[in-house]
Amino acid sequence: MLEVTSLTRAFGNHLAIADISMQVAEGELVTIVGPSGCGKSTLLRCVAGLLPPTSGQVVLNGVPVTRVPDRLAVVFQDYSRSLYPWLSVAANVALPLLAATRRGSDRGSRRGRAVRDPAVRDRAASQRAVSQRAVSQRAVSQRAVSQRAARRAVALAALESVGLGGFADRYPWQLSGGMQQRVAIARALACEPVLLLMDEPFGAVDAQTREDLEDLLLRVQAERHITTLLVTHDIDESVYAGDRVIVLTRGPGRVRAEVAVDLPAPRDQITTKERREFARLRAEVSRLVRGTPAPASAPPEISPPEIFQQAP
């Protein structure tokens, strides 16, 4: 579905990511973890087509990414900057839908220009073109009203699915941080993305809210089978949320290892995290992130989660 091959990006002489290759299957949730500054955001922006790679390539569904692909959604960490304070919550969520319809109407106006060009030479034809345009403009304005209603309906449904049904007509700055990030997630869901990219989406909220948002993400991701790439520097989160964890090295970022996570679904903040398997994976990812080798002997067997697990 998503294929990244030898992706390298430099800023001037400074290498941000080097030779990153990875693959993500349809419907998979892959987490990318690495120390701060190792190039996680750079990788994500290259995948999103927001930043051209220095070398290597990104292929999405067989098509090389050279610009922002259709039906992509990105959720950034800083919700206060990526939500628009002058728009209501519903209008924020409906905004990406506007891009989709706009693309259609842009095509229409390009066709209109093709009609206009020969018309310049022929006065009669030009008059015909003008009256045609007036008729089509009236039709367009009627369609615009119903399209706006349709966009709002989609936005309301998306808000409902993140538990913010009653907040459509508030403004982002009237909501708490966790709620604002829910709005950002609703906005991402509203455009029914085929690929969802998240750059440390829960890094700016408190621990409790973070767990709630992780569970929200896992729920909607499972319901809709959205292929998701989640960047985080939180090792627990990378294991808890991921089907697979990709560990990057300190900058310039390279893939140090991939760790398959076969914790059963649905995951649960308490029962999943008290599993012995979770503790083992967390320790493994943690060592990989720190770059410390695994101890020759088996890891210490007495860890708190294990004690909990032995209780019935």
């Binding site: 999103a48 922002v68 992509l72 959604a73 900057r81 905004l95």
Partner: protein, 269 residues
């Protein structure tokens, strides 16, 4: 007055301003009554108040206010129509801004009134000259604030829109314009006050112009009644205050989100 009412007055800005005026007024009245300042050299504040009230029924004065405000409105419309688009452009194209910044810094400090003879030579019409002069003075705050506003547009806000498939023009319209708008509006408010002051000054200096400044000049050479001159100044001040208040109020209504954000960031520890 009860103590709570006192506190309410002393805590509101308008209340404090009004209190200051009353004190000044009272002090001047007392000084003149006590004979410290000769009433011939300076009219009693109560006399000035009487003249100010009389001006409302003075047809020539009311017409002059209308003339000034008409020039003001035309000049403000032209100022906004020029400075906002140019500011958006300069703010977006950083190269253009860097190239033009020295020119702007050179042109900006010129006292606009000095340009009256030159503009009159070119435009050949007194009222149009006045409009040009006022535009010249008013354009800078709008231009500079708009550029500043566009400069401040958040990179992440743009990138978010780009990630949803919007092109550069849509991003300019949907992100740069709305987030620069409160800054442009501040520029317009400042320009509104400047435009009024410069219009009156131009009318005082320019010979063939109408308006409050011309009315003042005619009073000065005619009756020489100082109370009326001060009364005109009082009315001018009130009009200037009103212009500022109207713009400030409109800003608060139109850009509620901007002020809400400003307050919430200030409240953060």
């Amino acid at each position: 007055m009860t103590s709570t009412a006192w506190r309410a007055v002393s805590e509101s800005r308008a209340g404090r301003g009004a209190a200051g005026l009353v004190i000044l007024f009272g002090a001047a009245q007392l000084a003149l009554w006590a004979g410290r300042v000769s009433p011939a050299a300076f009219p009693l504040p109560t006399t000035v108040l009487g003249s100010a009230a009389g001006l409302v029924r003075n047809g020539a004065f009311v017409a002059s206010v209308g003339d000034t405000m008409l020039v003001w409105a035309q000049a403000m419309a032209i100022t906004v129509a020029i400075a906002v688009p140019v500011g958006l452009l300069l703010g977006t194209l950083s190269g253009a801004e860097r190239a033009l910044a020295p020119l702007i810094e050179f042109l900006r400090p010129f006292p606009a009134v000095v340009l009256i003879p030159l503009v009159l030579l070119i435009v050949q019409d007194d009222t149009r000259t006045e409009v040009v002069i006022v535009v010249y003075a008013a354009i800078w705050p709008v231009l500079i604030n708009t550029v500043y506003g566009v400069r401040g547009v958040d990179q992440l806000a743009r990138e978010t829109l780009r990630s949803f498939g919007f092109g550069p023009l849509s991003i300019a319209r949907r992100v740069s314009l709305p987030s620069a708008a409160p800054f442009a509006a501040t520029g317009v408010r400042i320009a509104g006050s400047i435009a009024f002051v410069v219009a009156v000054a131009a009318e005082l200096v320019g010979t063939g112009m109408n308006g409050i400044g011309a009315f003042t000049a005619s009073q000065e050479s005619g009756t020489g009644d100082m109370a009326i001159l001060i009364a005109v100044a009082v009315w001018s001040g009130l009009i200037g205050l009103a212009i500022n208040a109207v713009f400030a109020g409109a800003e608060r209504v139109a850009f509620r989100w901007h002020f809400a954000l400003a307050t919430s960031t200030r409240e953060l520890p």
